[in-house]
Structures are given as structure tokens and as C-alpha cells.
């Protein structure tokens, strides 16, 4: 697992949008050897960081789907054709940048969980809190 990187991102001040941070913190406590990063947004600088790892897993909240739904899929850097905004990059775009600029792109997955509440709060909704064990289990499969 030492070659794996976990990136949880979102806004922890907006309810379930902070679930990426929560999951990242939980797994960091469970696996001290795992490298974990939390960010509000993905930025181009992360391309250099992820180029040092064999695997990277991004964890984010989404508003799409039923609250509590967990979806994971492999990222395809070749699917990236458009722009990357300077401080709001796409996970697949970061993999593409890492490969192009540093010659090393890890295999990448993104795990999303559908949020229920994105209000001004620092706690997760009961629905999302209830499925955190499943979310962590899914991430563990990918970083193992």
C-alpha cells in the first residue's frame, strides 16, 4: 500500500461535500503507511505529486444519484480532451498531466458517494454517515 495515494476532496464546510475528507481521515488513521491528501479542489500541482505513486484513488461527493449511492470506476486519461481550469482540475486530467509531464501516470480510480445535504454544516447527513463503512471498504479494495 506504500505506493498508493488517496486524495479526498470537497468542501468540509458544506455538509456531505466533505465526505471525501472524512473517508480520507478514517483510512489515514487505519493505514499509517498510506499517503493521504485532502483538498478543497484539485489543482495542477497534484500532477507532480501523483506521478510518484503506482495507484491513486480520488474520493468525492456527488449530487447525482440516490443519497448514499457509492460508485467507483477506473479513470481513463485518454478520455480527457478539454480544458483544465487552473484550480479545479479533473482527476483523469491530472493523470494525463502526470504522464505527459513526468512520464509516470499511476492507475487511477474515482469513488463517488451521492450526498443528501450540501448546506452550511460541518457534519455528514445520517444517510451518508451510515454508508461510510461501505465507502471505506470500496476504497480499501482499490488501494490494496
Amino acid at each position: 500500500m506504500s505506493r498508493a495515494l488517496l486524495i479526498g476532496y470537497g468542501n468540509p464546510l458544506r455538509g456531505d461535500d466533505g465526505v471525501g475528507w472524512t473517508a480520507a481521515d478514517m483510512l489515514a488513521a487505519r493505514y499509517p503507511e498510506l499517503t493521504v491528501i485532502t483538498r478543497h479542489q484539485l489543482t495542477p500541482e497534484l500532477a507532480e505529486t501523483i506521478s510518484h505513486f503506482a495507484r491513486v484513488v480520488f474520493v468525492d461527493a456527488t449530487a447525482v444519484g440516490q443519497p448514499g449511492d457509492i460508485v467507483a470506476h477506473r479513470l481513463d486519461p485518454e478520455s480527457v480532451t478539454g480544458d483544465l481550469y487552473s484550480h479545479n482540475c479533473d482527476p483523469a486530467g491530472l493523470l494525463k498531466m502526470a504522464g505527459f509531464l513526468y512520464g509516470r501516470a499511476p492507475t487511477g480510480h474515482i469513488v463517488t458517494i451521492t450526498g443528501e445535504s450540501f448546506g452550511y454544516e460541518e457534519t455528514l447527513s445520517p444517510t451518508v454517515t451510515a454508508v461510510l463503512p461501505q465507502l471505506c471498504a470500496k476504497i480499501e479494495q482499490l488501494i490494496a
Partner: protein, 474 residues
């Protein structure tokens, strides 16, 4: 029949805005306006809060330059406390402020403006983005990433995190610099210097191909304003105000920041949430001035570090008197990155930099405090009044981007008048209208103290108000 073009939203800048371009009966540009369409109101929502919260609270104005607000707010709070902060605390604040300059300038130059510079103003917009840059000049892209990382890592080392560190507090900083972190930062400096010098060489080789843009991108006489130290050198953290005219003559020098109301006033236009500061003795709008990298390099007597001084000498050869084209904000930004890296090294080599005494403690001793510092985008001011309980009763913030509002409007007009012919806007022209604004690297979220992303729109409107063409992006 006159017509109006609207660009809505403007892209690759921070915040929300639109541009309207008015044409006369012959289809010539009669007027152009840059409208900032977001509102936030930090001055109002701060009222009633304990003054000690102000650095952390006002830093939330912006996710790009929170350190600038932290520094300026803390300086205003220092005045409320009426304390003299420990020397190490002041120098550590200076280092973080310079790291902020590096990361913010790197974001502006490499991530926002380099697609125009590398690929050209008329290049295919589908390719004119960061992937286009890294395919054309991967080394430039790597240098941009490394320099931004350099600045952000120093901020994170000092403050505990990259965005909204709470380390700068009234009276100093909350923790001293450790020997380990000192060594980490020092080890990164040589590489950062190599990268910025390589970028400067690249820029000096290519900017000559942008002759039309240099001639028309807000290239007009204005005043220039910023902080300088007692020797007239760059001063990002402290110093006093110097104002220089278009021929490089010093009109006013060593003006006290706390007396800003004697020489700066703010006009309000009905079509924008962004106020228009001006130099009070010359009135509105004749008192138009510019701030930020171009202005700073126009007002100083020298930078104050060896390599930056060499580059500055070359820069000042561009034009007799002040360098007037806002296109050269890009050039100035790179020289300031070089200066910031050199200056950080100087500060880190000071014998007291590892001192443990980094904060002075006091209760409020004054009811009013003003803080002023140079943010990446220019002169930033926070002015607070408190009651006897230390609660904020009144706030005024003059933001760097706001100081450039008059010049940005005039620049949009100049570009539009030069490039627009007829009722429709080609993509290349649209990009130039946006690019003149990007030269200033405006942070509209800061300057209106507003919330949100930054798309742009341009509208073309007829004399009788008919919308003829509209382009939206973002």
C-alpha cells in the same frame, strides 16, 4: 443605430464579470465597460465580531490570496493593540507574504495567461488551454507547477496548511520557525531560482511577437501607486505609499498608509459592484492609477535583491519613464517572483529567524487601526474601528483589484476600439478583450468581497439598446 457587444462571462480570471461594448452608427466602438457582477459584503458582515477574528475572517474573502488578507488584517489589528511585534515574527510574516506572491503570480502567469502567450491569441480555443501549453512547452508547464508548489509548500510549512492558514495573528505569528522547516525551505530555493530565470529568458524571447497587444493592451498614461521602503525599494509587507506619474516622476512619496483617506477616494459606478478608487488630489476620473506588479516596478528606485535588480534594469529599458503597457504586467510578475525568492533567502539567513519569541500580547489600546500591504495584485488596505469591548463597529477594505478598476475599464475600451470592426466578434478578438483583463490578474471575489466562480460574458448592444451579439464562457 449604435450597437452593444456583450462578453459574458469573462474566463480565466477569478470571479464573475461581463463586458459590454457599445458601437456607434458606423459600427465603431463608442464605449466599453467592464462590469463585476458579484457581491459579497465582508465589510458589513464583519461588524459585531471580536477584532481578533478579523485575520481569519477576512482571509475567507479569497482562496487564492488569503495570506494577503491575513497579513493586512493582522497589521490593522497590531495597530489596535498598539504593540511592536517581535522582529522574528515580522520577518516570518514577510516570508509567508512573499511565498504567497510566488504561488499567486505563478498561477496567473503559467496557468491562466500562458495559453495565450505560448499558443497565440488567435489559436484554436479548443487547444488554448493548459494541455495545449504542456504539449507545446512541457518544461514551461513543469516550471509553473514547481514554482506554485514552492510557494504553497512554504505557506503550508509555516502556517500548517496551503489555504487559509491561521498562523498570522494580531501581535505576530502563532509559532516560530523550526530548524527542520528552515532547512527544508532553504533547500528548495536554488531550484526555484533556476526555474524562474529560465521562464524569464523564455518570456523575453517571445514577448516581441505580441507587438499589437503591447501597443493596445491598456497602454496609456496613468499614475502608478504602491508601497516602497525608506530607500525606495520594493516593500510587500510594510513601507509607505509612493505615487509616480506616466513619465516616471514621483508625485508623492512616503505617504502614511493610515492617512489613505487624504489621497485615495472611491467612486461608485451604477453598473458594477467593483468600486473605482482614484488619487484624490487629481479628482475622478483623472486620478486613475494602477497598482500591482507593473506599478510596483514603475515606482521603485530598485528592487533590492541582486538578480531582480538586473532584470529590473532591463525591464525599465522598455520605455523611457514608466512602462505603460499593461501587457507587461506579465513581465513584471516574473521579476517579482525572482525578487520574492531572493528576498526569502535573505530573510531566512537573518540570525534571529529561528527565535522563539514571535508574538506580542496586549489588549486593545486604540479604537482604530489601519493595515496596508502589497498583495500579489497590488496595494491592499484594511481599516477597522472597534468599541470598548473590542468588537468591530466599522470596516473599510480597499482591495488590490479594485484599485485597478478604472484602468481595466479603460483598457477594455482601448482593445475593443483597436480590434473590433463591425457587429460580430471573432473568437480571437473576444480572447484579446479578455486577455487585457487577465493582464491585471483581477481577483473579483476579493475585490467585491464576493462569492463564486469567475465566468465572463461580452454583449454587443445597439444605440437603442438592442442586443446584437453576445458571447458567454465559463
Amino acid at each position: 443605430m449604435t450597437q452593444t457587444i456583450t462578453i459574458d462571462p469573462v474566463t480565466r480570471i477569478e470571479g464573475h464579470s461581463k463586458i459590454t461594448i457599445h458601437l456607434d452608427d458606423e459600427g465603431r466602438v463608442k464605449d466599453a465597460r467592464f462590469h463585476v457582477t458579484q457581491f459579497r459584503g465582508f465589510e458589513k458582515l464583519s461588524q459585531g465580531r471580536p477584532f481578533a477574528e478579523m485575520p481569519a475572517l477576512t482571509a475567507r474573502t479569497c482562496g487564492i490570496c488569503p495570506v494577503s488578507h491575513l497579513v493586512t488584517s493582522a497589521k490593522a489589528c497590531d495597530e489596535l493593540l498598539a504593540v511592536r511585534i517581535p522582529e522574528a515574527g515580522g520577518d516570518l510574516r514577510r516570508i509567508m507574504n512573499l511565498a504567497q506572491v510566488v504561488q499567486s503570480h505563478a498561477l496567473s502567469f503559467f496557468h491562466l495567461s500562458s495559453p495565450d502567450l505560448v499558443l497565440g491569441m488567435d489559436s484554436d480555443p479548443a487547444q488554448r488551454h493548459i494541455f495545449g501549453v504542456l504539449q507545446a512547452y512541457p518544461e514551461l508547464a513543469r516550471d509553473g507547477i514547481a514554482l506554485r508548489q514552492f510557494g504553497q509548500e512554504i505557506i503550508a510549512l509555516l502556517g500548517g496548511k496551503r489555504i487559509h492558514p491561521g498562523w498570522i495573528v494580531p501581535g505576530g505569528v502563532s509559532n516560530p520557525l523550526s530548524e527542520e522547516d528552515h532547512a527544508t525551505i532553504m533547500a528548495k530555493i536554488p531550484n526555484a531560482l533556476i526555474r524562474i530565470r529560465r521562464t524569464l529568458d523564455w518570456y523575453k524571447n517571445v514577448f516581441g511577437t505580441f507587438d499589437a497587444e503591447i501597443r493596445t493592451f491598456a497602454n496609456f498614461p496613468t499614475l502608478f501607486m504602491g508601497l516602497v521602503d525608506a530607500k525606495g525599494e520594493l516593500a510587500f509587507y510594510d513601507g509607505k505609499i509612493r505615487i509616480v506619474d506616466a513619465v516616471g516622476r514621483i508625485l508623492a512619496d512616503q505617504l502614511e498608509p493610515s492617512r489613505y483617506m487624504d489621497y485615495i477616494a472611491e467612486a461608485v459606478e451604477p453598473d458594477s459592484y467593483l468600486k473605482s478608487p482614484y488619487y484624490k488630489p487629481m479628482g475622478y476620473p483623472e486620478g486613475i492609477f494602477r497598482v500591482g506588479p507593473l506599478a510596483r516596478l514603475n515606482i521603485i528606485s530598485r528592487c533590492g535583491t541582486p538578480l531582480a535588480d538586473q532584470e529590473w534594469s532591463e525591464f525599465r529599458m522598455l520605455q523611457r519613464g514608466a512602462v505603460l503597457s499593461s501587457f507587461q504586467y506579465h513581465y513584471a510578475r516574473l521579476i517579482e517572483i525572482l525578487y520574492a525568492i531572493e528576498r526569502m533567502e535573505q530573510l531566512l539567513n537573518k540570525p534571529h529567524i529561528l527565535d522563539k519569541h514571535v508574538r506580542a500580547y496586549a489588549r486593545p489600546n486604540q479604537f482604530e487601526g489601519v493595515g496596508m500591504a502589497e498583495a500579489p495584485r497590488g496595494t491592499l488596505l484594511h481599516h477597522y474601528k472597534i468599541d470598548e469591548r473590542g468588537l468591530i463597529t466599522w470596516v473599510n477594505m480597499i482591495i488590490a483589484t479594485g484599485n485597478n478598476n478604472l484602468a481595466m475599464n479603460k483598457g477594455v475600451f482601448q482593445v475593443a476600439r483597436h480590434f473590433i470592426r463591425g457587429k460580430e466578434i471573432s473568437e480571437g478578438i473576444l480572447n484579446r478583450v479578455e486577455a487585457v483583463i487577465r493582464c491585471y490578474d483581477p481577483c473579483l471575489s476579493c475585490s467585491t468581497h464576493a462569492f463564486g466562480q469567475m465566468p465572463l460574458s461580452v454583449q454587443l448592444v445597439s444605440p437603442d439598446g438592442e442586443l446584437l451579439d453576445e458571447v458567454r464562457r465559463g
